[in-house]
Each structure stands twice: as structure tokens, then as C-alpha cells.
């Protein structure tokens, strides 16, 4: 399990810069940026310490960000459609449930990405897996 803190810090900075750029271009809103930052922080600080090739981890990180952005676009369009159909009140509904919906992809992607990495052998020898 190789882990270099300098790479982690560098990765975080790069991510932060890219996300700030994206935000400034109004591609995604500030809430989505925060969600992506949380995902990147967890992924870089925890998943990068596990077994597996660095390239695979970087690939998973990039894929996670793409999925995150895509998910946010979907939610954004959903919100626009919702406001058109239901009026301004939909914005409140959206604001309340938005973080919850946003974390659905983070948790799902996180749990799936862990199984892509080579697992250490099970410690339990006296029970059937």
C-alpha cells in the first residue's frame, strides 16, 4: 500500500483548481462543487492508501468526477423542469432534497470502486464467507 502525501496534496490542489474553474464558468453550482470536493477528499485520502496501481486509482477518481458532474447536470435539468411545471415552490423542494440525492452517487460509487481494487485476503478462517 504505497502512499505519498505530496501526491495527495498535489491531487487535491489540482482538483480544487479544476472545480473552481468549472464553477466560475457556471457549468455547475456551488453546492455541486462542494459535493465533488467531499468526494475527492475522501477518495484521495482513503482510497489512495489501499492496494492497487496508481493509474487504476486515478482512473477511478476521474470516472467518479465525470459521473458526479453528469449527475449534477441531470439534477440541474430536473430542477429547471420542476420549476417550469410546479412553479417556484419546487426550488424549496429541490434545495431540501438536493444534498441527499447528491450523496447517492458518492456512496454508490465509493462502495463499487473499493471492490475494483485488489482486496487483502480475509482474516476469518473458521467461518465460511
Amino acid at each position: 500500500m504505497k502512499f505519498e502525501s505530496s501526491r495527495l496534496v498535489l491531487g487535491l490542489f489540482l482538483e480544487a483548481i479544476v472545480l473552481c474553474l468549472i464553477t466560475s464558468f457556471r457549468f455547475i453550482n456551488i453546492e455541486s462543487t462542494v459535493t465533488l470536493l467531499i468526494f475527492n477528499l475522501l477518495f484521495l485520502s482513503l482510497t489512495f492508501q489501499l492496494n492497487g496501481a496508481l493509474n487504476r486509482k486515478l482512473g477511478m477518481l476521474a470516472l467518479g468526477n465525470i459521473i458526479g458532474l453528469f449527475w449534477n447536470f441531470l439534477l440541474y435539468f430536473f430542477a429547471i423542469a420542476g420549476v417550469m411545471f410546479f412553479g417556484e415552490i419546487f426550488n424549496v423542494f429541490y434545495a431540501v432534497f438536493y444534498p441527499l440525492l447528491n450523496f447517492m452517487w458518492i456512496v454508490s460509487f465509493w462502495s463499487l470502486s473499493l471492490s475494483v481494487l485488489p482486496n487483502p485476503k480475509s482474516m476469518h478462517t473458521e467461518v465460511k464467507p
Partner: protein, 426 residues
Amino acid sequence: MIIEALEVVFLFVTALMIAYLIRHYIFTLTVLRKAKKAKVDVVVNAKYEPTVSILIPARNEEKVIGRLLQRIAELTYPHDKLQVIVIDDASSDSTGRIADEYSSKYAFIEVLHRENSNGGRGKASAMNAGFKCATGEIVLCFDADYYPQKVIVEKLTKEFADPHVGAVQGRVVVLNEPQNMVTRLVALERIGGYRVDQEARDDLGLIAQFGGTVGGFRRSVLASLRGWDESILAEDTDLTFRVYLAGYKVRYVVDAECYEEAVDNWKAYRQQRYRWARGHMQCCFKHSLKVLKSKNLRAKEKVDGLLLLNVYFMPLVVLLSFIIGIPLIFFESSKLVGALWFSVPISFYSFVGNFAPFFEVGIGAYLDGRTRTQWLIPLLIFTFFYNIPICAKAFLDLLVSKIKRKDRSIWVKTSHLGNGNCYIVN
């Protein structure tokens, strides 16, 4: 004015949630760091072989007691230094008869039969009855549905070579994990609690917790504490804090594994969690102030102890933050509320009991080599929601009993059907 007041409450509860999340993030990092270090084989101190009494409380456990006693007979610890006491707690099935059969076969196994007049009053009462007969320097406890490793006694007792250690706790692993969705989710919960949470707390010198089974005490310490408190439903948590407050430590031994038959349906899950929640809340009322005032605890132990004592209030705190947050967002209050609103959903993906967030459970499952189990982590949200009414009811019942000054704690026993037997590797 009301909005400002709500904002203050919201900021307080979200700060609490973030404190828990940071705590568990540190736990996860600690365990990961430890896992990276080269593994050193545990050398058991062969010279330290104290006499050991093992207490096994059993009430209507005929489906599982034979399995445990057979394994007890196979323990590698010198049998002449072992005393095993099965407390047949007014069983109405053949638990007592099965225990008697093993007792006649093995001299170190004794059976204490309790009649309806003095038995059936809960685990703590049974343990106290057994403790009166225990003669060993170390007193270990195993629940009847557990299946320990053959070398578990050596692994657990070696910690007592340190005179500052008052209690020890081993790791609980779910035996019947593949049985159904409930057992798989309970297995994940156990992984979060025992693979990450307990190990990190032990490593960081915080409050490692005695879990009521797969662990034990130095006899002199337990005697000075006057055994188990029968009025508390979470008698294990209560003893943990009494040990720490008395100036001793609890050590956690991650490789001392014992396999348990987990609850396999939602009703049993609810009853068990209700008992844990109410018992934990009782401990919170009983010990919080003592923890703050204690001269035997360091500052970090006090902080961790308070967070541990309050852990079953967290589902209610999260619910409160959600209820308060909605009107604040509706009335478009400050930007800070909007930013903190993000901490709420992370908490939804946490296990109640140790408040293990999804990333902690995921890392624990990874380190355990459980690829498939990891995929169930998104389902944590449902168990969290299920725990909200359980903890709310436990809190309200306790509050009512405190007001009425009648804290009548009824022990609802979890029934074990022996469904884990088929998962044991012979």
C-alpha cells in the same frame, strides 16, 4: 427572531454531526495507517497463564449451547487453569440438560441452575450469579450463541500482564452473514464497529469499549466495582465507564475473534437496538458528569467518552437538523445554513451504535476482504431511517420513566435458532 433561534440550534446540531464525522474520519485514517505497517505476529507471553473463569449466561439456548460448549472443550488454554460456569437462567427448554451433559464429561465445566424464582431477570443478574462462583484471576464472558477461536483465551488474557488493564475486548464477527439481507447489514455494522472503530480507539488511547461478550475483566477490578449493574440495560457500556473511571484501561484485541449468530429479521433487530439504545442512554445520564469530573481520564478520553455516551442520540440529532433545516431553507436564511445542510446526508449513511459513516464501513470491509459486502453500503440509509424511531422511542420511554421515577428496564432476550451452525468450518 424565531428564524435566528432556529439558526443557532441548527448550527449547534450540525456542528455536533460534523464533530462525529471528523472523529470517524480520524478513526478510518488511523486504521489504514496501521494496516500499512508490516504485520508482526503476536507473541503470546507463555509465562503469563493466569487462572481463568469463563461465564456463559444461557436462557433457552438449546439450539446453540452445545456448539459453544463443544468449542470450549477444544480451547487450547490449559484446562487445569480453566473454570467454565454455564448459568442456566431458568430455561424452559433443554439448555440445562445439554450443559449438564458437558459438565459430566469435562471436569472444568460447571452448571449453575437458576429457578424461576431467582432467574430470568436479564443478563446482568445471571452474570452476577455466575461471578459469585468464579474463582479465576481473570473472568471472561461469552454469550451462548458465540463461537470462539480455539486460542482466544490466550489472546485475551495476555493483555492482563499489564497491571493497568482492567478489562479486555475481542472482535465480534457475524457467523451467519450470508443468511439474508438483515444479517449482511448487521455484518457490515459489526465491521465498522470492530474492524475500524474499536481498533482505532485502542490505538489512539481513547475509550475502547467492553461489548458485553468476547471479553473479560481482572477479577479484583470487577469485585471492586461490585459486578454488573442490574438496573442498566447496556450493562457492558456501564462497566466500560466504571472501569475507566476507576483508573483502569480496556484493551481491544482485534485478532481475538469470536463468531456470533446475528439477528436475522427486522423485528429481532428492532428489539435488540431498542435495548441497546435505551441502555446506552441510561449510561449517558449516569456517567456523563462523572466522565467530565474524572481525574483518571485525560482530556481526549473525556471527549471521546462523551461522544460515545451520546451516540444513540445522534439519529434524533440528525432528524432534528433535518426538521429545523427545512424551514430555514424555505425562508432563505444565511448562506452558512446552506453550506452546513450538506453535512446532513453524510450522516444518513451511517450506522447507529457507533455512528460509523459509509467511508469507515467501506474501509473496514475492504481490510476484511469483503468485496461483495461492500456493495451493500448504500443501503445504510435504510437502517439509519429504521433506527430513528427506535432511538426516539427509547428516549421517550426513558424520559417518562425518569419523570415517573420508575425506570423499569425489561430485558427482551434475542432468540437464537442455530442458523449459524452451517457456516462453521470444521
